[in-house]
């Protein structure tokens, strides 16, 4: 790989062999120093959160860079019913809104990506416009809708309201995925007399596994991380989601801030996301960029 870098950056000017080699070596060294700096900038804060989460009492205020393997913060956290309840709520809400968005999104994406249909373009633009809506703009109207549905202060209020975030997103990305799939198989199935729905469920769906996985994961992250609706539509502690629980975690005064516990909660909430993101890294990048670069 380093060899590739060398040939790609070979200068047009002529140097003696040894000068050339020194320049190349310096350049490669510079590249790795730069990459290391980027990694420290991006990862150190999370590392520091892990280190701090394993310290308690006075150890928290000393600056040792190594974790001290004291798990009392985690023990306290896992015995905290509000936090554990919030974890369950967050998981349920994010999972349910993602599933609903995927089903509706796949149906819509098939129509928008495959069928000859002139209003399709306008609908796609409307979907994109909804996804850039500031959430606060629909807040009072959403309040009323949730009241009508009788869902105020219930986690299901969030499943409904998160559709405004996840639905445009899944529709948009799945549409661009479907457009990229080859049409031959479908045409053959249609000639054989399959219905459109059957073509979608039996021909396209098996091909869309990776696309659905990455879209679903991104939508899950979107819903898991949401803050404004979760703060507004949920009143009592036992129905809260994790971001709000962490956002509202404070001590009795500014000087009794439970930083150790906050860091333990932060690490716990982020860990499953990081495992998922690092496992599906390639697919996530494909999903994120396909929507943006082509759109």
């Amino acid at each position: 790989m380093t060899k590739m870098a060398m040939t790609a950056t070979a200068p047009a000017k002529r140097y003696s062999n040894s000068t050339y080699r020194t320049i190349q070596r310096l350049r490669t060294f510079g590249l790795y120093v730069g990459v290391a700096a980027v990694l420290v900038y991006m990862l150190f804060p999370y590392y520091w959160a892990i280190v701090s989460s394993t310290k308690s009492g006075q150890a928290l205020y000393r600056f040792s860079l190594l974790p001290s393997l004291d798990f009392s913060n985690y023990r306290q956290l896992f015995h905290n019913p509000v936090f554990m309840g919030a974890l369950v709520n967050s998981g349920l809400v994010a999972f349910a809104s993602t599933m609903i968005s995927l089903v509706i999104g796949i149906l819509a994406a098939y129509a928008l990506g495959r069928l000859q249909f002139s209003p399709g373009r306008i609908i796609l633009i409307a979907v994109l416009m909804i996804s850039i809506f500031p959430q606060v703009v629909v807040l009072s109207g959403m309040f009323e809708v949730i009241g009508w549905l009788g869902l105020y202060n219930r986690p299901s209020a969030l499943i409904v309201s998160y559709l405004i975030l996840t639905l445009p997103f899944t529709t948009w990305i799945l549409t661009s995925f479907i457009r990229d799939l080859p049409t031959e198989l479908e045409e053959a199935a249609l000639i054989d007399g399959c219905s459109r729905l059957r073509v979608l469920t039996h021909v396209l769906l098996p091909l869309m596994g990776p696309a659905i996985a990455s879209t679903g994961l991104l939508s899950f992250i979107l819903a898991w991380n949401e803050f404004l609706f979760a703060l507004t539509f949920i009143l009592t502690d036992e129905n809260r989601t994790v971001p709000v629980a962490i956002g509202l975690l404070t001590g009795s005064s500014r000087y009794e801030y439970p930083f150790g516990q906050i860091m333990a909660a932060s690490v716990t909430v982020t860990l499953p996301l990081l495992v998922l993101v690092l496992t599906f890294q390639r697919k996530i990048v494909a999903g994120l960029t396909s929507g943006a670069v082509k759109g």
Binding site: V103, I104, L112, F117, A126, I132, G141, V145, T232, V269
Partner: protein, 297 residues
């Protein structure tokens, strides 16, 4: 009716059928709530009894426009958006150029930079709040040890610093997104152009200015558009760091405050309709500029 026409019509009917769930769902969670929010802006309703209202014309819009706190929030939001999107773009471009080169472990590094992006904003805010704490924060400890400051700086409390702290955290969180989008743009540039330039002896900096930058501009433009619209509606970072502190209050925080803290449905809806109009106007201007760029370039 010809066979082609019949097929066209049948396809269009199927398309509507497939789109029906989407249209119903988006009507219920987006279009209708938006319409109701705009409707409430013209009333004097309160949140505890929304059915009990009278029409007050544009009084609410005037009341919001006459509130200096609202304009403070608008100013904060615009300042935050311009500075952080600008910094994110520069930093994102620099990191993307670095990661575009071939080196050992490139795949792992590209995965690792996703970490700040995947975290909930609340968590990132809390981690930086801890690192920037005036007494026990690592950053201040480092600055004091290096002799740069005499005692810890209150990054998250000092009124003149807090908005910059918000910008700093936002840049950390969203730079990975910028890097990803710009990297995808860089990968679309054909290698041959660079090879040709190299053979003709075009120097490095000139290759960057006349090949990389112009060809990556569409990707950078789209990334900046997304980020700008996202920054304009920012809520969670400022709220977790400073609640409704006027120094960091954004338009979204102001509108929610009127609605929830003061229970004023009419005024809060008018404030959010103002936010909608301001962001809509900015979006139209940016999309116009991008279009113009595409047709002339």
């Amino acid at each position: 009716m010809s066979a082609a026409e019949r097929m066209q019509r049948q396809q269009s009917r199927t398309a509507w059928l497939f789109l029906l769930p989407l249209i119903i769902a988006l009507f219920g969670v987006a279009i209708w709530p938006l319409a109701r929010s705009i409707f409430f802006s013209f009333t004097d309703a309160f949140l505890d009894a929304p059915a009990n209202y009278g029409f007050v014309g544009i009084d609410n819009f005037i009341a919001v426009a006459e509130d200096p706190v609202f304009w403070r929030a608008v100013k904060n939001t615009l300042f935050f958006t311009v500075i952080s999107v600008g910094l994110e773009t520069l930093l994102g471009l620099a990191i993307a150029l670095l990661l575009h080169r071939a080196f050992v472990g490139r795949g792992i590094v590209r995965a690792a930079i996703l970490v700040p992006w995947a975290m909930p904003m609340v968590v990132s805010t809390r981690i930086w709040e801890w690192m920037l704490n005036d007494q026990f924060g690592l950053v201040n400890k480092l600055l004091v040890t290096l002799g740069l400051v005499e005692k810890g700086v209150a990054w998250t409390a000092e009124p003149s610093l807090i908005l910059y702290t918000v910008i700093f955290i936002d840049v950390w969180v969203t730079t990975p997104f910028m890097v990803l989008l710009i990297l995808a743009g860089l990968q679309l540039i054909p290698e041959e152009i660079y090879e040709a330039a190299e053979v003709s002896g075009v120097p490095h900096w000139k290759r960057f200015w006349s090949i990389t930058l112009p060809l990556a501009t569409p990707a950078i433009g789209v990334a900046m558009l997304f980020r700008t619209l996202d920054a304009l509606r920012m809520f969670d970072l400022s709220y977790v760091l400073a609640a409704n502190n006027e120094n960091t209050m954004t338009m979204s925080i102001y509108a929610r405050d009127q609605l929830i803290s003061f229970q004023d449905l009419g005024l809060g809806s008018a404030a959010s309709t103002w936010v909608f109009m301001i962001i809509g106007l900015i979006a139209i201007v940016i999309v116009g500029v991008l279009r113009l760029d595409r047709t002339t370039g």
